[in-house]
C-alpha cells in the first residue's frame, strides 16, 4: 500500500496574509490543527506529497483549460502572489518528474489528465505547504481540478480522479501522502468575502467524514453556487481525497468560520481504506 496518508485543509490567502486579524481563540486552535495534520502526515514517513488543489489562474486559463492536471517537474516555484501580501516568501519547491510520470501514466488509464512540466504555485498550494512542509523538505506533486472556469468537471469525475490517484499511488514503491485543499462555502475575492454558510459546511463535512459517496456526489453546481458560492465548487478536491481513501472514515480536526480569512477553516484526516 503506497498511499499512506490522506487529509484535507483550507488554503485561503487570508490565513497567512491576514493572520493576526482573526480572533486569537479561533486562530490558535486552527493553527494547532494544522500542526496536528502535519504531525500525523510525518508519522506515516511519506516520500512525497501529492496535493490536489483548485488553482486560481496561476497556470491555466480559458484558452486551454484542463479539467485535471498533474505536475511533472523536478521543481516548482511559488507563490505567484506578492510575497508581502501573502506573507510567504518565494521559493523553489522540490518535485519529482519521474514519480509524476509514473503516477500520470496510471491515472491516464481512467481519467484523461493533462500534465504540466511547468507549474507556478499560488496560495492554493503555498498556504498548505507553509503549514505542512514549512522546511521545504518534501517532494511535492501538484494536481489540479478546474474549479474556476466553467464548464466544470462533474462530481462523479472528481471521484473517479481520486480513485485513479489511489490506484496510481498503490503501484509506485514510494510512500505517498495525499492532501486535498479547497474551500467549503465561500465567496472569495468579492465584496461578499467573509460570508460563510456554516450549516452547509457542516453538512458537507458530515458527509465527507462518513465518506458517503452517494451523498457527496449529490450536490449540483446550481445548488452549490446558490448556497456555497463560487468558492464551493472547490469541494471537488475534497471529494477526490475521499475517493482515494477508498471507504476510510475521517476525523475532523478543526472547523470554524473565520470571516476575515473568508472561509470556514478546516483540517481533517481520513483513514486509508483497503
Amino acid at each position: 500500500m503506497s498511499l499512506v496518508f490522506a487529509g484535507i485543509c483550507s488554503h485561503a490567502p487570508g490565513i497567512t496574509g491576514r493572520e493576526e486579524r482573526a480572533p486569537q481563540e479561533l486562530r490558535e486552535p486552527f493553527h494547532a490543527s494544522l500542526h496536528e495534520l502535519r504531525t500525523r502526515m510525518q508519522a506515516t514517513r511519506p516520500d512525497a506529497l501529492v496535493i490536489v488543489a483548485a488553482e486560481h489562474f496561476a497556470n491555466f486559463f480559458m484558452n486551454n483549460m484542463p479539467a485535471y492536471a498533474i505536475g511533472m517537474a523536478d521543481n516548482y516555484t511559488g507563490p505567484i502572489e506578492d510575497p508581502a501580501w501573502l506573507r510567504i516568501d518565494k521559493r523553489i519547491v522540490p518535485g519529482d518528474a519521474d514519480l509524476s510520470r509514473r503516477l500520470i501514466r496510471r491515472v491516464m488509464q481512467a481519467v484523461d489528465v493533462s500534465y504540466a512540466e511547468e507549474w507556478q504555485f499560488d496560495h492554493g498550494i503555498m498556504v498548505p505547504l507553509h503549514f505542512l512542509v514549512p522546511d521545504n523538505s518534501m517532494k511535492v506533486v501538484p494536481a489540479n481540478i478546474n474549479c474556476q472556469g466553467p464548464p466544470l468537471t462533474p462530481l462523479p469525475r472528481a471521484w473517479a480522479f481520486g480513485e485513479a490517484l489511489r490506484a496510481a499511488c498503490d503501484l509506485v514503491p514510494e510512500r505517498i501522502a495525499l492532501i486535498g485543499t479547497g474551500g467549503l462555502s465561500h465567496w472569495p475575492a468579492t465584496p461578499d468575502s467573509g460570508r460563510i454558510n456554516e450549516a452547509w459546511d457542516r453538512e458537507f463535512l458530515d458527509r465527507w467524514v462518513r465518506n458517503d459517496r452517494e451523498a457527496l456526489l449529490s450536490y449540483t453546481d446550481e445548488s452549490t453556487y446558490a448556497h456555497a458560492g463560487q468558492g464551493g465548487f472547490e469541494i471537488r478536491t475534497l471529494i477526490s481525497v475521499a475517493a482515494a481513501a477508498r471507504g476510510g472514515r475521517a476525523q475532523l480536526l478543526f472547523y470554524a468560520p473565520i470571516p476575515i480569512y473568508a472561509v470556514g477553516c478546516t483540517a481533517a484526516v481520513m483513514e486509508i481504506g483497503e
Binding site: H56, F61, L86, D122, A189, T190, P191, D192, Q230
Partner: protein
Amino acid sequence: MSHYQLSKFLYQLNRDDRLQAQFREAPQRALEGFTLSDEERAAVLQPDIGLLYVLGVNGQILMHFAAFCGIDWNDYLQRMRDGVKQHGPVRAGLYAMTTSPDEKVVG
C-alpha cells in the same frame, strides 16, 4: 471578446515577473497585443478596481492584481463595493455580489 482579453492580460500580468516589470515601467506598452475597449484599458491603467470588478474580471485574478498594485484587503473590498455603486451590477462571470453595496460583510 475584449472581456476575455482583459482577463487574459491580468492573468498573464499576475504570473509573469517580466511583464510586471514592463507594466510598472511602461504600462501602455505592456498592454500591446491585447484588444481592449477604451473603458477596459483605462480601468487597468488607473487602476480602477471597482470598474474591473463590474466588468466581470474573475475575482481571483482581480484579487491578485490588487495585491500587485499594493491595495490592502479592506480597501480592495471597499473599491469593489464602490464600483457596484457607481457602475451597477457585475456584468459577467461568476463573481457577482450577493450583498448590497452598503452592506459590509467583513473588512
